[in-house]
């Protein structure tokens, strides 16, 4: 009956790129042979049609149908039955053009499943999509003068945080509904956005972001710093907006902004719908498919998954919740079937206005107890553990179901301990392995933050003790014939949780999370070896190297001290040492602030230095200082690149005469140069020193000049200030990275090399030249 009644219909669908929407499109294509689908998608950069092809039809949900039909027949069928229309529920008139409007006007069924389901969406975003989305659809249909059956997908949680029965009744008829005007809520959400944006742009706030950006990436140059600052600002605004959503929701008795905006969305839709017949379908927590298109099918990383994976990784040692409480989960295919059934049935003529509501949930008839779920999950992961980075299975903790407050307290304690450790590392000038430790610390801190976020977001759901009424759903089920029940099964009583969790859901969750389920195979190449192999391939084009702490453990100050002290007698040397030591803090501070200002300032010291004498001393300087402090493995790497035919490039803020003797290692050298007058240096740089973004530009110029592809190129550097250069190339390598770069490299999976000085050399605390030999 369902298939027959939907046959030949033209069905508009929003949210088809989402989890529920994809499953819905699949089911309609497969089970309702003759319907046509109009998919309203945000066009993005590629256009609506490409999005439908790439983001919907390429999903493995369609593998079943594609196999049944054959690829070509499937493509032809999709081509014939699917019309992609560019549109957006956050825009008035759904952002449709004339063609789009014309297509929509011919639709006689509209299924609205677009939503911002993320539980921490910024308030205004949730309002635009969840609250206003359905109302905008109704307005657009009014405009077009059509009245198709509108099936709007909502959520059971519109009932709010409450105990006991939550029947299938309109939101505003619940005795627990706090009556607020949805228009006022919309206005204030938009106003909060404006205010927050304004607040984020005050000079004080901008300075704060700038400082934080500097702390994160160091002296990486103005453009990089600007990009980072803006990123931090927008993130701050979004965080504030998410916070505003959470607090507004809880002030009205909702678990989060999603439920709150969906609830008001229902109210708004009912008010605006007018003569458009509306049915509302409210699922609870949607999880992987029980049977269709295949058992375990899931799209994206959804609500419960991060919690499950975090638990399996041993990260969530505790989670709040009531063990005897119900966790209301419903497989996605049951929700899809219920939507189809509602659509097939058509508007319920008997229901009061706004009262055609069907809840799709399990708690009332086939409850999954929270304690049982946790047991099932623990058993499963005990049998199928995730492996840690050392190849050891992670044993999962036993939860004791403390209150949410205690869990948060524990996590906060762990977080602040990590914070302190991290701060300690931040002030220490650590590199290489220690920086790796610091990066790992930061990663741990991130994990704790995430865990805390889960507790915040999902704790309310785990503690929810509402029981969602299913009278209308079950009545709908009772009215189906056998054929419909087979093709559109949505009876929640059929789910066997003991089988569903371990056999269907958990395997698909770990697969979707790409969690390592077996120890790494021994004998195979490690990740670093593999990356090294890619880097040392003849296919690469160009290999760029920073100098300081990448090839040698020295710096421009040491070079200067060496050259300046080379011809001093012992009394002048002492004076020189004292002066240098006294100046050190100021120099360091300046260097940290802006590398190129520092170089300009520092290089003035070469004013008046005779060119001949420097050239003569520079040769000695390379042997005594640079080569003595070089990393032999790094020099070998440069030579390996050359041997492979890569163009080797040195990019450094050091002066040309200082690095001149290293030139044979490189095809190109980009460095700083000083002007000369009367056979002496004048202490003025002749061009912008290659630091930060200037390095990026230098690389781009070189690649252009020789027709090289930077995506096929490699860059080696040690500091976050080299990010512009590292990010330009396809193969960045962090060498003995300082803390910030170590963290970034770890996150992005870059190769990290630990190049070291040759051991056994005598250490010189002050980089002074040995007194020039003279007759004794």
């Amino acid at each position: 009956m369902i298939a027959e009644s939907l046959a030949g219909r033209r069905i508009a669908i929003t949210g088809s790129t989402g989890f529920l929407g994809t499953a819905l499109v699949e089911r309609l294509l497969r089970r309702v042979p003759d319907c046509e689908l109009v998919l309203i998608v945000r066009p993005g950069r590629r256009g609506a049609q490409r999005r439908v092809d790439r983001d919907i039809l390429h999903n493995d949900a369609f593998d079943r149908l594609r196999n049944e039909l054959g690829s070509e027949a499937f493509a032809a069928m999709a081509d014939r039955r699917i019309t992609a229309v560019a549109g957006d529920v956050t825009a008035d008139g759904l952002g449709l053009d004339d063609d789009g409007r014309a297509v929509l006007a011919t639709c006689d069924l509209f299924i609205h499943s677009a939503a911002a389901v993320s539980f921490d969406s910024p308030l205004d975003q949730a309002v635009e999509i969840n609250l206003l989305g359905a109302a905008r659809i109704a307005e657009t249909l009014h405009d077009l003068g059509t009245t198709p059956h509108l099936v709007a997908v909502s959520t059971c949680y519109v009932a709010g945080s409450r105990r006991g029965a939550a029947p299938e009744e309109p939101v505003d008829q619940s005795p627990f509904f706090v009556d607020v005007d949805w228009r006022t809520e919309v206005d204030s959400a938009r106003r909060i956005r404006t205010e927050t944006e304004t607040a984020s742009r005050t000079p004080e706030k901008l300075a704060e972001f700038r400082e934080a950006a500097h702390k994160e990436i160091g002296a990486a140059g103005t453009p990089a710093l600007a990009a980072k600052t803006e990123q931090l600002r927008t993130r701050w605004v979004d965080d504030r907006m998410a916070e505003a959503g959470r607090s507004r929701a809880s002030s009205l008795g909702f678990p989060d902004a999603y439920a709150y905006t969906k609830a008001l969305g229902e109210v708004a839709l009912t008010e605006i719908a007018g003569d458009i017949p509306v049915s509302i379908v409210r699922p609870s927590i949607i999880e992987s498919a029980l049977a269709e298109p295949v058992p375990g099918w899931i799209r994206g990383f959804r609500m419960a998954e991060p919690v499950i994976i975090s638990y399996a990784r041993g990260l969530l040692k505790e989670f709040p919740g009531v063990p005897e409480g119900t966790i209301d989960v419903i497989p996605v295919d049951l929700v899809v079937a219920a939507i189809c059934a509602v659509a097939g049935r058509g508007p319920d003529a008997d229901a009061p206005r706004g009262g055609d509501i069907v809840q799709v949930a399990s708690g009332a008839v086939n409850p999954l107890r929270y304690g049982k779920l946790v047991d099932l999950v623990r058993e499963w992961f005990t049998e199928h553990p995730i492996y840690d980075e050392h190849g050891q299975p992670i044993s999962v903790p036993q939860w004791s179901f403390p209150g949410r407050g205690r869990v948060k307290q524990q996590l906060e304690r762990a977080g602040s301990a990590l914070d302190k450790a991290q701060k300690a590392f931040d002030v220490l000038p650590v590199r290489g392995r220690h920086a790796e430790t610091a990066a790992r610390l930061e990663e741990k801190r991130d994990l704790v933050d995430r865990a805390m976020g889960y507790v915040d977001l999902y704790g309310a759901y785990a503690e929810c003790e509402a029981v969602y009424g299913l009278d209308r759903l079950l009545a709908l089920w009772d009215g189906l014939d056998e054929a419909d029940r087979a093709a559109f099964a949505f009876d929640p009583r059929v789910v066997d949780w003991d089988r569903y969790a371990p056999e269907v859901h958990l395997p698909s969750v770990v697969k979707a999370a790409r969690a390592p389920m077996r120890p790494p195979t021994r004998g195979g190449q490690s990740r670093s070896q593999r990356l090294r192999g890619q880097i040392l391939s003849p296919d690469r084009h160009l290999a760029a190297f920073d100098l300081e702490n990448t090839l040698i453990a020295s710096n421009v100050v040491a070079s200067y001290s060496w050259l300046a002290s080379r011809r001093l007698d012992s009394r002048d040397r002492l004076r020189f040492v004292l002066k240098t030591v006294a100046e050190a803090p100021r120099l360091l501070a300046l260097d940290r602030k802006d590398r190129s200002d520092f170089l300009r300032y520092f290089y003035r010291r070469y004013d008046g230095a005779p060119v001949d004498q420097i050239a003569e001393d520079a040769l000695e300087h390379v042997s005594e200082l640079l080569l003595a402090k070089s990393f032999p493995a790094a020099i070998r790497r440069v030579r390996e690149h050359r041997a492979l035919g890569h163009r080797t490039v040195l990019i450094t803020g050091a002066l040309d005469f200082v690095i001149e003797p290293l030139r044979p290692l490189f095809d190109d050298v980009v460095c700083a140069r000083l002007g000369t007058a009367d056979g002496a240096y004048d202490g003025q740089l002749t061009a912008v020193p290659p630091t930060g973004e200037a390095r990026y530009q230098a690389l781009v110029d070189l690649a252009d000049e020789y027709g090289h592809d930077l995506r096929e190129s490699i860059a080696y550097a040690d500091s976050a200030s080299d990010l512009p250069m590292l990010e330009t190339v396809g193969f960045p390598v962090a060498v003995n990275p300082e803390t910030r770069l170590a963290a970034i490299a770890r996150k992005r999976g870059w190769l990290v090399e630990d190049f070291r000085k040759s051991p056994g050399m005598h250490r010189n605390p002050l980089p002074l030249a040995p007194p020039k030999a003279r007759a004794r």
Binding site: L619, E624, P632, R636, P664, S758, G760, M761, R763, A773
Partner: protein, 537 residues
């Protein structure tokens, strides 16, 4: 002509019994006291220092005026307008470096005085270092003296040999064996080459001085190779050394090309650590140590314990040997070298009866290639299996298939300026194979012709790219001859990288050696330095 010392005693073979005291083993920048098994061990002691010449300058004058072989006295060879080149041994001789004035300074000053008297203007001084690292200004000043340095270096007339200078090298011809004879252009175009030699061991000098010292890779590869080393038994014994045979053939080509060489060779005694002073006990026999020697040794051991390696290195490399000149002879190369060799043997040769199952040696902190530098693992191998193993005449001290046990800390450390190609050799080549012949075939050319190594050799202070290969070949004869090599007290990873067996104590090593040579093996300890050469019958 006596310095007033007691008549020096010759070398000595001690048969170890229960009453023998522990023996001092050199162990890098330190020492170990080792008790050798009684009744089957012997210790070969070097001869005590010979008398030094009372008037070295007079002896030099005498030698220059009374040349040996087919040569006129030096003054007769000097004339105005001629091109004169004085070549001298580099930093690798003597070991350790000697106190001022260096023998080279004494001789060069004398030669320069005579040249000045004869009105010779065009004089160049060249440190004949072949493919060793360049000498620093300090080192050159130490070798030739400040007066000579200041007179010649600023005008570019005193410099290091550069075997990779394309304009500075010529090939003089080929030997009947097809060996290219490559030579310094300046020396080849000179009317006279005066070579100033310090013949610390019997390998040094003769035609090798110029044919090797003023040559480069093109020439050296004909005798610095695995084949030659397998056929030099030993390379310390010229008569039985393929290395020297090749150099002598090259010497003939040089002579036939019209290069006139006036060879000056010198020998020093065994006064390495001083007859008095903090290290004096090292050249005494343990049972003859005085209370003062004992106290000094214990004090030194305690002091060394407190110092970090780099400080120990610095302390040891500041030691300058109070060597005394025992002979100087000048004139035609071969005639001079005959006399020199006899003088070297007079100090070094110790008669030893029969070979041994296990040869032990305590390796000191210095070898020819780590003066003012770091003794890296390859140099440890070269000093033990190259130099010490080959300090024999007749038969090797250890029987074929026997075991060599060397003591040295053997740290995985390299001097990044002096030994850059060694680092890569150790990381890349030895990780691939330790077989000298295979290394030669597969890797030598690549390192020898590497432009970066050549750049560092020419402009910095690096040994040539091919030098670590030669070090490895130096041990080829020993590696072929013995059944196992062990290193006591070394860095385990570094020792294994070289294909040797690490042991933490000498007792452990002796125990493990029985796997190879059977139970109750005979043991011989080569107590060197001061230097000795075993005359094995």
């Amino acid at each position: 002509m006596s310095n007033g010392h007691l008549a020096p005693r010759p070398g000595f073979v001690l048969d170890v019994d229960r009453t023998s005291p522990p023996i001092v083993f050199h162990h890098g920048e330190g020492f170990r006291l080792e008790k050798l098994p009684a009744d089957r061990s012997r210790v070969i002691y070097p001869a005590e220092p010979l008398e030094g010449l009372a008037d070295p300058d007079g002896a030099i004058q005498h030698a220059l005026h009374n040349p040996l072989g087919d040569s006129e006295p030096l003054p007769a060879l000097l004339r105005p307008g001629m091109k004169l080149t004085i070549a001298f041994d580099d930093i690798s001789l003597p070991l350790p470096p000697m106190r001022r004035p260096d023998i080279r300074q004494r001789i060069i000053e004398t030669v320069l005085d005579q040249a000045a008297e004869a009105g010779v203007d065009d004089v160049h001084l060249i440190a004949a270092l072949a493919i060793h690292r360049r000498m620093t200004e300090d080192e050159l000043r130490h070798a030739v003296g400040d007066r000579v340095y200041d007179a010649f270096a600023p005008s570019g007339r005193l410099y290091n040999h550069d075997a990779e200078d394309p304009d500075g090298m010529v090939v003089l011809g080929q030997t009947p064996h097809g060996e290219d004879v490559q030579f310094s252009r300046r020396a080849a175009e000179s009317d006279l080459v005066v070579y100033v030699n310090i013949n610390l061991v019997s390998m040094d000098g003769g035609h090798k001085s110029t044919a090797t010292g003023l040559s480069g890779y093109t020439g050296l590869r004909h005798h610095h190779n695995v084949h030659t080393m397998h056929n030099s038994k030993s390379f310390m014994d010229r008569e039985n050394s393929a290395l020297h045979a090749s150099n002598w053939r090259m010497g003939k080509v040089i002579r036939d090309a019209g290069v006139k060489i006036f060879q000056i060779e010198t020998t020093v005694n065994n006064n390495t650590f001083g007859r008095e002073g903090p290290m004096a006990m090292l050249q005494k026999r343990e049972w003859e140590w005085s209370a003062k020697d004992r106290a000094a040794f214990l004090g030194m051991q305690q002091g060394l314990k407190l110092l970090p390696t780099s400080a120990k290195r610095k302390a040891f490399s500041s030691w300058l040997a109070p060597y005394e000149l025992t002979s100087v002879q000048a004139g035609e190369v071969e005639a001079v070298h005959e006399v020199t060799t006899a003088n070297v043997y007079r100090q070094h040769l110790v008669p030893v009866e029969g070979q041994t199952d296990v040869l032990t040696m305590g390796l000191p902190y210095i070898c020819p290639y780590n003066v003012n530098s770091i003794m890296n693992p390859i140099l440890v191998m070269c000093l033990g299996l190259g130099y010490f193993f080959n300090l024999y005449r007749g038969r090797p001290l250890v029987r074929e298939g026997g075991v060599v046990i060397m003591g040295h800390p053997t740290p995985w450390e390299f001097h990044p300026v002096h030994h850059p190609s060694y680092i890569d050799f150790f990381e890349q080549v030895l990780a691939d194979t330790t077989d000298p012949a295979e290394i030669e075939k597969k890797w030598e050319k690549q390192f020898a012709e590497d432009e970066w190594y050549i750049h560092l050799y020419r402009t910095s202070y690096a040994y040539h790219g091919v030098h670590p290969f030669y070090m490895w070949y130096w041990g080829a004869h020993a590696m072929q001859h013995v059944g196992r090599v062990m290193i006591v007290g070394g860095d385990t990873a570094a020792v294994r990288r070289m294909g040797f067996q690490p042991a933490s104590t000498l007792q452990d090593a002796l125990e493990m050696a029985t796997d190879v040579v059977g139970p109750q093996p005979t043991i011989t300890h080569l107590k060197n330095p001061p230097i000795l050469m075993a005359d094995v019958t």
